[in-house]
C-alpha cells in the first residue's frame, strides 16, 4: 500500500499546496472571528471541523504515507505530534506577551481575558509537547530527558507560565490581578531569549546530543500539515478559554451598567 501511494504524484502535489491553502484559510477565519462580531458564533465550528478532518488526514499521512526515517525507523513519527505542539505553546506565549504589553497601555478586560486564555492554552500545548518529547527520547536516546537546549528551554518556560497562572489564581482583586499578571507576563517573555541562549551555551560546553536536523522534504510537508491542524485547534481552544475568562470576569467585576443614576451631594451644613 505504501509503495502504491508513493508512486502517486497526485498525493505529493496535493501535499505541496494543501497545507498552505489550509493555513491561509485558518488565518482568514481567525481574522474574520476577531474583526466580524457576527461571525463568532460559527467560525470556531468551521475551524474545529477543519481540525477534525486534518486529524484524520494526519493519521493517514503520518502513520502510513510518509516513509520511515533513515536512522530511527518508525519511532520518529511522533515528531508530527511533538514539534507542532511546542510551536503552538510558543505562539500562545507570544500572544500573551502582546496582550500584557497592550494591557499596560490601555486597560481592557478583553485584553486581560485573551492573555489568560493564550497562557492557559500555551501551557497545555507545552506540557503535551514536552511529554511527547520525553516519550520520543526514551527509545531514541535511551533516556526520557536529555537536556537538549530546545526542550530544556521549553520546560523552564512551562514552569514560568505555570507560575503566571498561579499568580492569577492567587490574586483576588480582578484589577490588581490583571495589572500584576501583565507585569509578570512581560518579564517572563523577555526571559525566553536569555534562557535559550544560556541553555544552549551551557550544553555546548558538554557533549551536545543533536536532534535530527536534516528533515527530508516529504517530512516537511507532513509537518506543515500537522502544524496547520494544531493551529486550527489552538484558535478553537483559545476562543473557548477566552469565553470562560470573560464569564469569570463578568461574575467578579462590577459593571458600570450597574451604577445607580447620577446624583450630586446635597449641600448640608452641620
Amino acid at each position: 500500500m505504501r509503495h502504491w501511494l508513493l508512486t502517486l504524484d497526485g498525493t505529493t502535489r496535493f501535499l505541496l499546496w494543501s497545507p498552505l491553502l489550509l493555513l491561509v484559510s485558518v488565518l482568514a477565519l481567525t481574522g474574520l472571528h476577531i474583526f466580524v462580531a457576527q461571525a463568532r458564533t460559527w467560525v470556531w465550528k468551521v475551524l474545529l471541523g477543519i481540525a477534525v478532518v486534518m486529524i484524520a488526514g494526519q493519521a493517514v499521512l503520518g502513520l502510513y504515507w510518509v516513509p520511515p526515517e533513515h536512522y530511527m525507523g518508525d519511532v520518529y513519527r511522533i515528531i508530527y505530534m511533538h514539534v507542532p505542539q511546542v510551536w503552538m505553546s510558543l505562539i500562545g506565549m507570544t500572544i500573551n506577551f502582546g496582550c500584557c504589553v497592550l494591557f499596560l497601555f490601555r486597560k481592557s478586560w478583553v485584553t486581560d481575558s485573551l492573555a489568560e486564555a493564550s497562557a492557559s492554552v500555551g501551557v497545555y500545548f507545552g506540557a503535551v509537547g514536552i511529554t511527547l518529547g520525553a516519550v520520543w527520547a526514551k527509545p531514541t536516546w535511551g533516556a526520557y530527558w536529555t537536556w537538549d537546549p530546545r526542550l530544556t528551554t521549553a520546560a523552564i518556560m512551562l514552569v514560568i507560565y505555570t507560575g503566571y497562572l498561579a499568580l492569577r489564581r492567587f490574586v483576588e482583586d480582578p484589577d490588581k490581578r490583571a495589572t500584576w499578571s501583565a507585569v509578570l507576563g512581560i518579564v517572563a517573555y523577555v526571559d525566553i531569549p536569555v534562557l535559550w541562549f544560556s541553555v544552549k551555551w551551557w550544553r555546548s560546553i558538554h557533549q551536545e546530543q543533536s536532534s535530527p536536523k536534516t528533515v527530508d522534504s516529504l517530512m516537511t510537508m507532513v509537518l506543515r500539515w500537522s502544524a496547520t491542524m494544531f493551529l486550527s485547534l489552538f484558535v478553537v481552544f483559545v476562543y473557548h478559554r477566552y469565553l470562560a475568562a470573560q464569564a469569570a470576569r463578568a461574575r467578579e467585576v462590577a459593571a458600570p451598567e450597574l451604577l445607580p443614576p447620577s446624583s450630586s451631594a446635597p449641600a448640608v451644613s452641620s
Binding site: V159, I160, T162, G163, V183, V187, L195, F197, S198, W202
Partner: protein
C-alpha cells in the same frame, strides 16, 4: 522645602532598610546560620567524596544563597506591607522608581553581605582555593546577588500582596533566575578552579547582560505594581 532628587530618595530608602536590618540583626544571624545549614545539608545529601564536593561547590554555594534570598526578599517586603509603610513612603511623595532602586540595591547589599559571611565557611567545608583572585570573586558574588535582587524585589512586591505568598515568590523567581544563576555558578567555578579555557569573560558577560535587562525591567515596571492606577 526642596524636592529631593531620585538619588536622595534612593539613598533614604537604602538607609532605612539597612537601619531596620541592623535593629533586627538577630534575624540576619539566623539567616546566616540557615545558609550554613543548607551548605551542610548539601554536603551530607551528596556524599563525602571531596573531589566531587569541590567540583560542585559553586552550585551548592549559590543554591544556599538562593534559598536564603527568598527569606530575605519576602521579609524586606513584609515590613512594608505590615502597616502600609510603603504607601506612606509612596505618598510622601517618593517616586515608585526610586523606591524600587532603593529596595533592590538594599536587598543586593544584604545578600552580598550574607554571601561574604558564608564564603569562608564554604571554602573550609568544600576545601576550595581561589585561583583567579579574591577581588574578582567578590565582584562575581556581587553581580550574582544583584541578579537575584532585581527580579526578586519586583516579584516580592507582587507576592507580598497575594495569597500563598510564601510559595508564590520562589515559584515565580526561580525559573526566571536560571540564566543569571547559571552564569554566577559558572563564573564562580572558573574563579575557584582556574580559568583554563578563558571562559570567565563570557560568563561575566551573560551575568552583566542579565543584570542590565532585569534592572531595567524592574525600574520600568515597578510603578505598575505599587501604584494603584
Amino acid at each position: 522645602m526642596q524636592r529631593p532628587t531620585l538619588f536622595s530618595v534612593l539613598v533614604t530608602v537604602i538607609r532605612k532598610d539597612l537601619l531596620i536590618e541592623w535593629r533586627t540583626r538577630a534575624r540576619i544571624n539566623a539567616l546566616v546560620f540557615f545558609a550554613i545549614a543548607t551548605l551542610l545539608i548539601f554536603s551530607f545529601a551528596l556524599g563525602p567524596d571531596t573531589v566531587l564536593l569541590r567540583k560542585n561547590a559553586p552550585g551548592y554555594l549559590w543554591l544556599g544563597i538562593l534559598f536564603a534570598s527568598v527569606l530575605s526578599l519576602s521579609e524586606s517586603m513584609r515590613i512594608e506591607i505590615e502597616n502600609s509603610a510603603l504607601d506612606g513612603v509612596r505618598l510622601a511623595p517618593a517616586s515608585a522608581r526610586a523606591i524600587y532602586l532603593g529596595k533592590a540595591i538594599g536587598n543586593t547589599l544584604m545578600l552580598w553581605l550574607l554571601t561574604l559571611v558564608i564564603l569562608p565557611i564554604a571554602i573550609a567545608l568544600f576545601d576550595l582555593s581561589v585561583r583567579e583572585g579574591f577581588a574578582r570573586l567578590l565582584g562575581i558574588l556581587f553581580l550574582g546577588c544583584a541578579a537575584i535582587s532585581a527580579p526578586g524585589t519586583l516579584y516580592a512586591a507582587i507576592a507580598a500582596n497575594a495569597r500563598a505568598r510564601d510559595v508564590l515568590l520562589p515559584l515565580l523567581l526561580f525559573p526566571v533566575l536560571i540564566p543569571g544563576l547559571l552564569a554566577s555558578v559558572k563564573a564562580t567555578g572558573v574563579i575557584l578552579e582556574g580559568d583554563v579555557m578563558h571562559q570567565l569573560g563570557s560568563w561575566v558577560g551573560l551575568l552583566s547582560a542579565f543584570n542590565v535587562l532585569y534592572w531595567s525591567l524592574g525600574f520600568a515596571l515597578f510603578p505598575r505594581v505599587i501604584e494603584d492606577d
